[in-house]
């Protein structure tokens, strides 16, 4: 049975830690704590649960403004969402700009803006770089900052997507960790956040940013004994490591380079260029290893979004450095639903 107090505590802390790391100017830890508290309570409250907006809501939190006036409304007041829902306003607009205390910007609220898809929200958050954007859909909550999802809580009432501390996996079992991530990503890979056009197998522009965020958020929920960093600097060079795990007791480093193959809006790494692209990740890891003496394992995580997923011949690259995991971890992305994939497989198997 999941402990309700523990669920709340874990959700609070995951948001608090990430917001603190953003280094928002003139924002103190207590203000962040109060904001996390209000966000989680807002979503768990009965008034929200009875009026869950079908298309979700987006709270644009502007840390530089103070919208507190005698006439301003605080959206964390229980009556706010009930009133919005009964007036039918949530069908017309779902973007609400608020200050860090929850006071709403009335002009913005009347503008009638709507943001629904993660790509739209991600782009909007690049435009509003001094704000964080909280997308609340049903019981899920995702926070965007400067175009990237920085926290992703699949369900504020549950820890099913998290592993409780006793069941988290130590970083030394990284093969098991990556296998579990692969299983998790099987469903996740169909999400529109990654695809520009599912029919054409076309990824969004710069999809690696989203892959790194996705892997980072998952590792935060599932690894027991490591400090996890994304896009951090290498020890003695200006290279950026995509994902780095530092084992807390020994200080040993486990680093992952994220690459993708397939087609995106701006690039094409399909066909003959796929292998070249993939192996460039291995070469990058070799360079990192020359600088990082504490590193005990480096791994390439390859997101394969090709329609025709032909095996890559990793043996063509030699010599393969001892510390680089062989073969690389390949995560398949398929836009089709499970049933379509199953029919496809059975068609191939029984075509004779």
């Amino acid at each position: 049975m999941q402990d309700k107090d523990r669920i709340i505590s874990i959700h609070y802390n995951s948001i608090y830690t990430r917001l603190l790391e953003l280094d928002l100017p003139n924002v103190m830890p207590l203000e962040i704590k109060e904001l996390c508290h209000n966000l989680v309570l807002f979503q768990r409250d009965e008034s929200y649960q009875l009026n869950i907006p079908k298309e979700g809501i987006c709270l644009v939190i502007n840390f530089e403004k103070n919208y507190s006036t005698s006439t301003s409304r605080n959206i964390f007041d229980q009556s706010w969402i009930s009133e919005k829902a009964s007036n039918g306003n949530l069908l017309l607009e779902n973007v609400f700009e608020i200050d860090k205390m929850g006071n709403s910007h009335l002009d913005k609220a009347e503008a009638g803006e709507k943001l629904i898809s993660p790509v739209e929200i991600s782009n909007f958050s690049i435009e509003t770089s001094s704000c964080i954007i909280v997308q609340i859909i049903g019981n899920s909550q995702t926070i965007y900052f400067k175009g990237r999802p920085i926290t992703d809580i699949p369900d504020v009432f549950s820890l099913n997507m998290y592993r409780s501390y006793n069941y988290k996996i130590p970083v030394s079992e990284y093969i098991k960790i990556l296998k579990k991530y692969e299983n998790y990503f099987e469903k996740r890979g169909r999400k529109s956040i990654f695809w520009k056009s599912k029919a054409k197998y076309l990824l969004i522009d710069s999809p690696e940013v989203h892959f790194i965020d996705d892997m980072y958020n998952w590792l935060c929920r599932n690894v027991s004994n490591a400090q996890i960093d994304e896009e951090c600097l290498n020890a003695s060079s200006n290279d950026r490591l995509d994902v780095r795990l530092t084992e807390l007791t020994s200080g040993h480093l486990f680093i992952f380079e994220v690459k993708w193959i397939g087609k995106s809006k701006g690039s094409n790494y399909d066909g003959k260029t796929a292998f070249k692209r993939a192996i460039s990740g291995v070469i990058q890891l070799e360079n990192y290893l020359n600088e990082e003496s504490n590193c005990v394992m480096a791994g390439l995580v390859l997101y394969d979004a090709r329609k025709d997923k032909q095996e890559l011949e990793w043996n063509k690259h030699s010599p393969w450095q001892e510390k680089i995991h062989f073969p690389p971890f390949v995560i398949a992305l398929n836009p089709e639903s499970s049933s379509t994939l199953a029919s496809e497989k059975s068609r191939k198997r029984y075509k004779h």
């Binding site: 107090d5 505590s9 802390n13 603190l20 207590l30 704590k33």
Partner: protein, 233 residues
């Protein structure tokens, strides 16, 4: 005839707490909540070497209790700086009272805050009060909770290491030494502070930022201990 409470320092602490809760739209604070907020403010004072008045807390049935605080509150009520919003003696074991700051009390706070020394104390008590409100609301989500509002903070105070130590090694109404630098609470504060200060990501932050983060971490520690004890029980 004097219009000053006998222990001005403690009275100021009480006014800062009631003023802080007033600003957070919490119109009043219970007798129990007030005692426990001041206890936590004293227990964690080493985070920023805050000098608070020496208060003698003793072990009572519902956690640490100080008669001096209650005397100061009663005097503040008599002088019109604090209101009693609700009082009931239906439960014969202890009286229920909720306190709130009056307009006269707000003017006193405004004038006190012209002094630098008082500003820091006020900031410290505001921090402790706001965190106590957050954690009380969090604890109130538990359907089995018999406490209401800020009374819930007593669950965290029960987890305070100095209180547990005094309870296990002392006797009913023995005092809790919060100024002792060898105490468990003092050591925990020093340890937490050291860990937070060594965090590279926070190295450019000012001392108030660090102090707030340390106190939040300490509250989280008490909360986590409370969940463990609840599950074990």
């Amino acid at each position: 005839m004097s219009f000053l409470p006998s222990n001005i320092e403690i009275s100021n602490d009480v006014l800062y707490i009631l003023n802080s809760s007033d600003k957070k739209n919490r119109s009043n604070i219970s007798k129990l909540g007030l005692q426990k907020i001041i206890y936590l403010a004293n227990s964690f004072a080493a985070v920023k070497d805050i000098i608070l008045s020496t208060i003698r807390f003793v072990i009572e049935k519902r956690g640490p209790y100080s008669k001096e605080i209650q005397n100061s509150v009663d005097q503040l009520v008599a002088f019109g700086f604090v209101d009693i919003d609700f009082q009931s003696n239906s439960n014969k074991k202890y009286s229920l009272a909720n306190y709130s700051i009056t307009d006269a009390g707000r003017i006193v706070v405004k004038n006190l805050l012209l002094l630098n020394k008082e500003k820091e104390k006020s900031w410290w008590l505001d921090l402790t009060t706001r965190l106590s409100i957050i954690y009380s609301e969090q604890l109130e989500l538990d359907e089995k909770s018999s406490n209401k509002g800020l009374n819930n903070i007593v669950k965290l105070v029960y987890q305070d290491l100095s209180f547990i130590d005094a309870k296990e090694n002392g006797y009913f109404r023995s005092s809790i030494d919060l100024k002792n630098k060898d105490s468990l609470s003092f050591n925990l504060v020093s340890f937490t502070k050291r860990i937070v200060e060594s965090n590279e990501k926070l190295k450019n932050k000012n001392e108030y930022f660090i102090a707030e983060h340390v106190v939040i971490t300490l509250f989280e520690f008490l909360y986590s201990k409370y969940i463990d004890s609840k599950n074990a029980g």
